[in-house]
Amino acid sequence: MFRIDCHSHVRGGPWDIGSPSPKWLVEAADRLGIDSLCCSIPIGGRAAAPEEFRACNEDLLKAMKEYPGKILGYCFVDPGFQKEALEEIEKRILEDVMIGVKLYNQYKCSDPVVYPIVRKTIELEVPILQHAGYLTDPMEAAKQPNISDARDLASLASLFPKAILIEAHVPGGGDWEWALKILRNVQNVFVDTSGSVIDCGVIEKAIRYVGENRLLFGTDLSLEEGVGKILDANITEEQRQLIFGGNFMRILKRRSG
C-alpha cells in the first residue's frame, strides 16, 4: 500500500521550528513505511520577504535532489509580494518540478491578495496546501490572527471551483468537527489528516462527512500519529488505500497529464 505524506517539513530557511534534516526525516519515514514525503519550508507569523521564501525553496530543492522521488516539494511564498511570488511559483513548478504551493498564515486564504496565486495554480494544475485551523481557545487563536479556517477555504473554493485546495492538518489542533461540517459539500477542498491530534473516530467521521475520496494522509512531522490514525480507523482497506496514497496520486496526475 503506497503511502504519500501530503504534509511534511524539512530543516531549512530562516525560520527554525525544529524540523528534521532530510536524512533524519527520510530514515524516520522509512521505519513507518512512508514512501514519499511532500515537504515545504515555510515561514510563519510574519511577512516572508522574497529573498527569504526563495531561500526556503532553495533549501527544499537541495533536499529533493538528495532524495529524488522520496522528498517532493511544495513551493512556499508570501502572497503579499505578488510579482515575486508568481515568478517563484512558475520557476519552482516548471523548472524544479515542485508539486504544489504552500501558503502559511501571512494572510487568510479568503483575502483577495491570494487570488492571483490561486489563478496561477489553476493554470499549472497544482494544489495549494493551506495552513489552517479553527482555534477555539482564545489564547491559541491570538497567536495566529491570520490563520485560515474551513470557512476561508470554502469561500475560496466557491470563487475558484477549478482550484485544488488542501486544508492542512484538519485534526491538527483546532475543532475538526467544525471544519468537517463546513467542508461537507465543498468538492474542491481536500482534507489533510495530519497533525498530533488522534481523537478516536476522527477518520471515520471525516469519511462520513467529506467521503474517502477527499481525504489525504499526512503527518506534519507527527509521524506515528499520522500513520497510526489511518491504520487504526475502522474503515475498509480500499478506503485506507485511497487515503494513504490513491487520492494524492490522482492530484499529482492532473499536472503530469
Binding site: 482555534l135 475538526w176 491530534v197 478516536c200 473516530g201 506515528e224 500519529e225 500513520v227 491504520l231 475502522n234
Partner: protein, 258 residues
C-alpha cells in the same frame, strides 16, 4: 503482552466517542492487541461527586476482571473523599486518577497532598493526566488548563515516596521532572522515530516509561507504533509495553504470553 496504563470508560460530554462501554472498549483493545487496560470513569471527571462514577465503573468492569484494572477518580476538595477512598480500596480499585484542572485545585494543595499520601499508604498507584484533549480545539465550556511541569514537580518534591504516573506527558526529556525518581511517564504523546522517547531512555533508562494510549478518547495504534519502531532491544520494549506497569501495579505477571 501489552498493558495500557491510560484508558477510560464512560462518556465525554464534549464529543461523541466511538466506544463508551466495557464491551465496546474491549473491542478496540482486541483490535489493537492490548491485553489489559487501566481504566477510570470519564463520567467522574465532570460529576460533582466523582465517586458516583467510580460506582458505575466497578459495575461496568465486573465481567472483565482479566481485562480491566479499575482506577478511581477522587476530588480532594469535595467532602467525603477519605470515606470514598476506603470504599474504593474495598471494591478493588488499584489506583486513583486526579484531575486538578477540572476540579479546580493545584497538585500541591494541602488536601491533595493528604489524599495522595493516604492513597499511597493503602497501596494505590497515583496517576495524573496532563490533559484530556488538545486545548486548541476545546469546547467553549471546557476551559481546563494543561497541568504544568512546575505543578507536577511540586507534588513530586512534597511526596517523594509516592509513585506517580504522569499520563499524556510530552517534552519531559529535557525537563527537571526526570530527576524525580518517583515519577513515571506514559508515552502516547512522545515522538519516537523523531527522538523524544529514545532521548528519554538514554537519560533515565526504560524503567519509568509506560505504554498508554488514551483509548477511547484517542486511537491506540499510534502509541503501539511508538514502541514498535524504537531502535532498542526487545527487552526494553517489553518493559515499556507491560513489565513496568505490571511491576508498579503488583500484577505478578512473569512472562510474555506471546
Amino acid at each position: 503482552m501489552i498493558i495500557d496504563i491510560n484508558a477510560y470508560l464512560g462518556n465525554w460530554p464534549f464529543r461523541r466517542l466511538p466506544a463508551t462501554t466495557s464491551d465496546e472498549v474491549v473491542k478496540l483493545l482486541d483490535r489493537a492487541g492490548v491485553d489489559i487496560a487501566v481504566v477510570s470513569s470519564l463520567n467522574s471527571v465532570l460529576y460533582a461527586d466523582t465517586n458516583e462514577g467510580n460506582l458505575e465503573l466497578i459495575e461496568e468492569v465486573r465481567n472483565y476482571s482479566k481485562r480491566f484494572i479499575p482506577f478511581a477518580v477522587l476530588n480532594p476538595k469535595y467532602p467525603g473523599w477519605a470515606e470514598d477512598l476506603a470504599q474504593c480500596v474495598e471494591s478493588g480499585f488499584k489506583g486513583i486518577r486526579l484531575y486538578p484542572q477540572y476540579h479546580n485545585y493545584l497538585l500541591d494543595d494541602e488536601d491533595c497532598l493528604k489524599l495522595v499520601s493516604e492513597a499511597s499508604e493503602l497501596g494505590l498507584v497515583i496517576s495524573i493526566p496532563v490533559r484530556l484533549r488538545d486545548r486548541r480545539g476545546r469546547h467553549w465550556m471546557d476551559s481546563a488548563r494543561d497541568i504544568g511541569f512546575h505543578e507536577i514537580e511540586a507534588l513530586a518534591t512534597k511526596s517523594p515516596h509516592v509513585k506517580i504516573v504522569i499520563l499524556e506527558s510530552r517534552d519531559v526529556a529535557k525537563s527537571s521532572l526526570v530527576n524525580h525518581e518517583n515519577l513515571y511517564f506514559e508515552i502516547s504523546r512522545m515522538p519516537s522515530v523523531l527522538q523524544e522517547m529514545p532521548e528519554l531512555i538514554r537519560s533515565i533508562g526504560p524503567s519509568r516509561l509506560m505504554f498508554g494510549s488514551g483509548v477511547p478518547l484517542k486511537y491506540v495504534t499510534p502509541a503501539i507504533l511508538k514502541v514498535k519502531h524504537l531502535r532498542e532491544p526487545e527487552e526494553i520494549k517489553e518493559r515499556i509495553l507491560w513489565k513496568n506497569a505490571s511491576d508498579l501495579l503488583g500484577l505478578g505477571i512473569q512472562e510474555n504470553k506471546t
